[in-house]
Every structure is written in C-alpha cells, then in structure tokens.
Symmetry: C2
Amino acid sequence: MPCFEISILGGTGGPFEASTQCFMIRDARRRDLASICIDGGVGLGAIARMLRQPAHPGATESLYANELEPIQRYIDPALTASGAATQGFSDRLMMHVPAAPIVQQALIIFQGIGEYYITHPHMDHIAGMVVNSAAVFEPRAPSKKLIRGLPFTTTPLQEHVFNDVIWPQLTHPLLGSLSFSPMQRSEPSASPALPQFDITPFEVHHGARVADPNDTVSSTVYVITDRLTKDTIVVCGDLEKDPEDGPDGQLAAVWRHLAQNVELPRLRALLIECSNSKAIDETRLFGHLSSIRLVGELEALRAAYGVDSLDSLTVLVSHVKMVYADEDPRLTIIDELRQLAAARNGLERVSFSIALQGCTFML
Amino acid sequence: MPCFEISILGGTGGPFEASTQCFMIRDARRRDLASICIDGGVGLGAIARMLRQPAHPGATESLYANELEPIQRYIDPALTASGAATQGFSDRLMMHVPAAPIVQQALIIFQGIGEYYITHPHMDHIAGMVVNSAAVFEPRAPSKKLIRGLPFTTTPLQEHVFNDVIWPQLTHPLLGSLSFSPMQRSEPSASPALPQFDITPFEVHHGARVADPNDTVSSTVYVITDRLTKDTIVVCGDLEKDPEDGPDGQLAAVWRHLAQNVELPRLRALLIECSNSKAIDETRLFGHLSSIRLVGELEALRAAYGVDSLDSLTVLVSHVKMVYADEDPRLTIIDELRQLAAARNGLERVSFSIALQGCTFML
C-alpha cells in the first residue's frame, strides 16, 4: 500500500517559467483532497494542465530533438509497470473531484492544499504560489493556507513579497486566510493538513550571493515521515555539496539523520535536484548539483547507512536546467546518472526517474 | 502597412499563473527579432507554447463550459478576416527564426527582447521576466536587456526582487547583461531596441495597500508612438478609474494627452484591462476596472477628443480574472462590452477583442 502520492506540478530548474518546482503531496490512504505542496514555482495553471486529457497519452512535451518523447524515457519502466508512476493525477484523487469545468476542478484541488513548505525564497520556487494566492478568497472555493519554512525563507517572503509592493499583503491577519508558520531547524512538526505526517526541515547550502561571494545562501531539505509506519520521503530544494573546508556538513547531517532514524527499506524516495550534466564547468554550478555530484551524495548516503548497497532506492531527479541543447537535458542527465551509478559499488540497483511535470508517483 | 506587431504571451489577471500579463511588441516593418515586452508575467514558457503547432487550429484553450472555444468568440472577426489577428507568431517573425528544436527557437526569440517596460511591480506582471532572466547568460543565445519603468516600479524590483534573496542579483553591474533604466513620468523616450518608437509612461491609480487603505498603489499606462508616422498604441497596466474626490485625474490626463497629440485615426489600438464583469460588487474592484467602468473610460476618451464617435477604434481587453464560473469570464466580459457599447452614443463602432494568449495582432 503506497503511503505518499506525489504529483509533479513542476520539476525543472527554469529558465522556462511554466515548469518550475512544485510538488503536491497527498497521504495516499486518505479519502479527500487534503494535500501539501513542497515549493510553489507553479500551481493552479499546472493543475489545470494535468486535468486536460493528454493529446498523446504516454508521451510528454520535450521540445528538444522531438516535440514529444515517450514517458518511459524519463521514468524507470518498473515504476510505470507497477502503477507507481502514472500520467496525470491518480484515480484516487480524481474520485474526489466533481465532474465540472476544468477551471472549477483546478480551483477545488487547489482548495485542498493546506500548506506550502518552501525550500528557499527564490522566485522559481514561489511565483506560482504567490500569483495563485488570490484564489484563497474565491467565494465558491475558499481556503485557508499556511506558508511554512525555516525563518530564512518565511521572513523574506513577508518582507519582500507579501509586502503590499510586490504583492498585496494577503497574509494580513485581518484577512484571516493566508498566514506564515515558521519552522525550527531539524525539528519535526506535524502537518496540520496531513497530521499523519511529521515534517522536519534541514538547512543546506545553496551557493552564495552575487554581490558578496562570502555571504552564503541557504535552502531546505524536508524529511517527511509517516508517524505510524515510519515510511519516509526526502524532498530537497536546490542544494550543493557541503563545502570542503567548512566546519559543518549540513547535507552530511541529513544523511546521518536518515541513517539513524529511518530503516533503509522505509526510505520510499529521495526527491533531489540535479540541475546540471556532468559536462558542466564545476566553477559554474552556482549552488547546484551535477550528475556526478549527485552520485557522490548517494555514495555518502550509503556510507552513512553503513550498508553495501542502497538496493532499489527510488531517486526522483528534479530541477534540471532547460538549457540551449540538442538533446533534452533531462534525458542527458538521467542517462548519465544511470551510467555513473552502474559503475559504483552499492549504487547499481538504485532506480532513477525524472520528476516529470504532469506525472504522479505513488510510493 | 501595419506598424505594431503585438504577440500576447499572456493576457489574464490570474489566479492561474501560466497566462499572466506579458505583451511582446515588434516594429512590424523590421526584418529581425528585435522586440520589447510590456510586463513580464510570463515569457519563455509562453513563447515555447506559441511555437508548437496548435493541436486544434482556430481554437483556444478555455477550460470552462468547453475545454476549447473558437478564437472567433474572443476576437473581432473583422481582425481575423483581414489578417490583423492570427494564432501563434506572425510569418514575418518566424522568417527570422531558424529551423531548430522549439526550446532553441524560444531562446532565440527571447534573445531579441531588448527591454521590459513594467507597469507595476506586482508578481503577476514580473514573475516570468525574473525566472527567465537567467537565460540572458545562455552561452549559445546571450543577450543584454533593460528593465524599464517609472521609479515606483524599478526601485522595488531592485530592492525586493533582484536583491540576492528573492532572486540572484543578476542586475549587478559586474555581470553586465541586465540593468535597470528608470523612466520619467509623462516624458517620452526612445526604445533602444526599437528606436523608431517613442514610449511615454503615465502614472495611474491601482487601488490601495491592504495594510493601509490610505496608501495608494500606482500603475503605468505606456503610450507607444511611431516617430515618423505618429501611429500610436496605448498599453495599460492594471488600473482603476480616477478617484471622484481626488485633486488630479491621472487617467483623464492620459486621455487628454492622446487627444492633444495623436490624431484619432492614428490611434491604432487601446490595450486595456477589464478584470471584472459588470456583475461585480463595486466595493470589491481592488483597483481594477469592470466592463461598465471600461465603457465609462471610453466615453471619457471620446469626450477628450471632442468627437461624436470613436469610430472603429480597436480595443484589446486584458487581465480578465479567471474566476470560478460556468462561462469563460472572457466571453462574459467581451459580450458585456459589446452590448454596453452598442447602447452608448459614439461607441457603437468600437471593435472589442480579448488580448488572447497565443495570438498576434498586426495593427
């Protein structure tokens, strides 16, 4: 029985604005539309697109060598064969969506989103959530939502975005529908919308400021654990490897936490960024991973667990940058990851898939 | 010979994030890809979508009573019949786009955008521009761009957005590709990308802050005039009617400027918001127009010109709010506008069309 239902509303690292990161997550066992989102790069527009019948079932928009590509090129065929990955929303979700025009259905699904967990306040992780936020006041589908995150995320959203300059201050207490709920570093807290899940935010490194390279930028990894079964998924924002010379290992602390608290078979999926191909100049990572560095982190995770093999761990790869190229960079990167992992002891059986926009994973 | 080529990358007022306001404008006589954008709610993603062959030519996504609707329901059939309105980009633009994958074509068209003229710094008018901005550094399609606007727009973009918190400070002078270029109220200045065009920004009213209703919010109307022919289009950001009791009439000043400087037949189009149906509670306009108020402004424009009729003025209607409804609000509003104008002396022959995402107007 799957525990987590993850719909990829958006899963790239830009620069195209219609596919930036937003993962809608449900408790797969619940019989309602309650959900949370990790990040909010896109939202209602992507939900509406998922509700349309696909013109070419089994194919996804690529817009590189071919306009469309088979979904199997992006997603481990074992996941599609078992029903763990499907195009569009799950049948279980759609059971609770009334027959209605797509705009209405989208607003009803949006109504079910109880919280956003934002990984960091960069525009490609918040823009959809902000533009959509006016819809909490939709008279025929009103909702209340929390915007959650570590203070380095919620404070700038309050000061720089919901400030009556960049966006109306819809978080004003008198309006009563949208509010901030800061979290504490490495402290679990129950999701109000999905109380079966404990969510723990870990701070990680994400490059430096342009104006001052000594001033580092942070991001968040969310560890989401079912309170009863202890099944766990790990959902990462943008991140880079820990600095070689730094005092702390922030990402190392995440791997250590998992090894100490989550039995490996309970680790249902690692949703992690891989912005770049291994071909990138490593001085131009700007706070991100490449395929070679992601494989390095998987080795660190294996070492933290002290096991010979990560076995069939499901890794969902997000935030690929859609650069000017002949081949779809998502295909380049998934191929690189599979080849690199095949050559590393203990990673041979890891299952890699792209966190493909418009698909749902049941894990 | 048309002078202005206006591609509607996005033309609604949200809350769906994939269709928010961005108008790409070319000089229809130029043989290159130089362009400017008024607002940047969407961008590269919408360009890529326009480059795809439409699955249903002549139809547009509605997602209300029907998933698709004929374009003729949104656009004055006289414009489509004459070729003044077409689906997708113009043949003239496409002549300069190489045969290549759609992502590459989109990045090449994006490369041609020389300036953004932002009407006000609200998220639904900037999000696409910000997320896309990383692509100015795309090695195979680099570009330099200016972000222009009145200081109430450019200053907040600098302080709250390109501030190394909400988005990397890609406008840092050392990077040399993206910079701010503030404009002066009511002062014409030539567009560097399209030097044949003079662009004059007028400040207008756009509601009040949530936290302090006495603190008003401003927006911009851009008047774009061909230096030689004096052909003119007027492109509006969000706006409301002038306050009854205010000392100044900001929108009245725009109509007066047009009447004094632009012969009526040279006024090729008025691109203006109409966020709401006439059914809206007028206390809930939040700084926007309704169909009944837009018709009121057209009467004010006719009065400023001192003419009996606005004759066949082309009005392109943007920023309709995609609310929970049974009928597509754009169809509701275009019908209301046509009915209201038919009953007003001097507006009977005004041509109304929706500024429909994915369409190009040659005017």
